[in-house]
Symmetry: C2
Subunit: 243 residues, 2 copies
């Protein structure tokens, strides 16, 4: 149980919102693990007493914490504490990116950064992948092949194959970025026509990349990936890719 005592009232600085001192206090509690991950925040009425502010301010504070990803709040439910990670960081971008993708060239720009990113990952993998990494890649490739005739499942295995490149980097930021790309770019491909033929072709592309990595030939791997990505972009209906 949390020690229930009132916070010292901070100097009322006119240029600062009252909510922000509350936000800081709760941030601190989270960082110091006074509020553990997954735990619920105290009720609004409790907090208003503890911080000696109105419920209005408490609510504003939780909104801010929520937008920063430190707490997760569903309507009508008590907000729960959430230790931040790079995934939630990407989640914070959600709103803005959604708008950006509706602007001219937005999708293309984002897709270009994905190509850019994966080229780097693939080159890196080509040069540094361990036995285990290669095995994971092979496994993903096999699963991908097995799903060629399962229209729905192929899409998943396709993503999973690409994801391996991100996981090989062992950098949690990279993995978060992959998830973000899938979230933001994915819907654009969801609606494109699928067929076993296309799946077969995509699988071959994946295989080519994999083999280039096996051969430890970064330039070849890069070329194979670029070809694959360029082809993927061509699949997007113009009506979507241009807007």
């Amino acid at each position: 149980m949390i020690d229930e005592q009132k916070e010292p009232k901070p100097e009322s600085n006119p240029s600062e919102r009252a909510a922000s001192s509350v936000v800081r206090a709760i941030e601190k509690d989270i960082q110091l693990d006074v509020l553990h991950d997954g735990e619920m925040l105290p009720s609004e009425r409790d907090m208003m007493e503890r911080f000696s502010v109105s419920r209005t301010v408490i609510r504003e504070a939780t909104h801010i914490l929520s937008s920063r990803g430190l707490v997760e709040s569903r309507p009508r439910f008590r907000p729960t504490v959430k230790k931040p990670n790079f995934d939630t960081a990407m989640g914070a971008l959600e709103g803005i990116v959604h708008h950006l993708l509706n602007e001219a060239g937005g999708v293309k720009n984002l897709f270009d950064t994905r190509i850019f990113m994966e080229v780097g990952l693939v080159r890196s993998a080509t040069e540094n992948a361990t036995k285990d990494d290669l095995q994971a890649l092979k496994a993903a490739l096999d699963v991908n092949e097995a799903a060629i005739f399962e229209i729905d499942k192929f899409y998943e295995t396709d993503m999973a194959f690409h994801r391996v490149f991100y996981t090989i980097s062992k950098n949690p930021i990279a993995e978060a970025i992959h998830k973000a790309y899938m979230t933001w770019l994915g819907p654009r491909w969801k609606m494109m026509p699928r067929s076993a033929d296309r799946n077969q072709f995509n699988f071959e592309s994946h295989k080519a990349i994999f083999q280039a990595i096996l051969m430890r030939d970064p330039d070849l791997a890069e070329a194979a990936l670029r070809f694959h990505m360029k082809d993927a972009w061509a699949q997007i209906p113009k009506s979507i890719s241009e807007n």
Copy 2:
């Protein structure tokens, strides 16, 4: 002037916050340019009448819009409309990233992605840079050299040199990422010891990268950059880099 008529009251869906319909309406106004960039939002009291909701809800709505970067609001001032761009998107990450950097390995992970990113940019520049790009790079390098003995200024010209790699990509997302890196990683270097010697050394590193690009040798350019970055990382006091 905006046509002053009440919005049709949306079906009161219990599972949705009242604020979100207001948010949608304003988002739409912004996207359709009914509210132009830089313009001020109507007063809260006006909006509460227009949407037939309480001021509480209007305030919540503006907070949400603010956290999405669609409006910019300073305390005591009317929020102003702001067409979103990738810069503001990075700004939205501010809060979370701040926390993440305080976690173990956070700084290192972020720095690694920067290395990763720049390696890609430099390779790309090596292969695709136009005459103008090379000239811009040369100009930045010269400015950097000229500032070797101006302790404070060198830091700026250093950043500016690296920034050129991002601008060469012609992708606004890349440029936003550069700014983000400088914002988040910059402070860690700000406090490190400076000297003309170190500046000289860093300049030589920059020069090496530049020359590799001139020679159109991507592998050499990558090696030069990696050496430079590795050295830079070594400059960070252990006490900071490890936390």
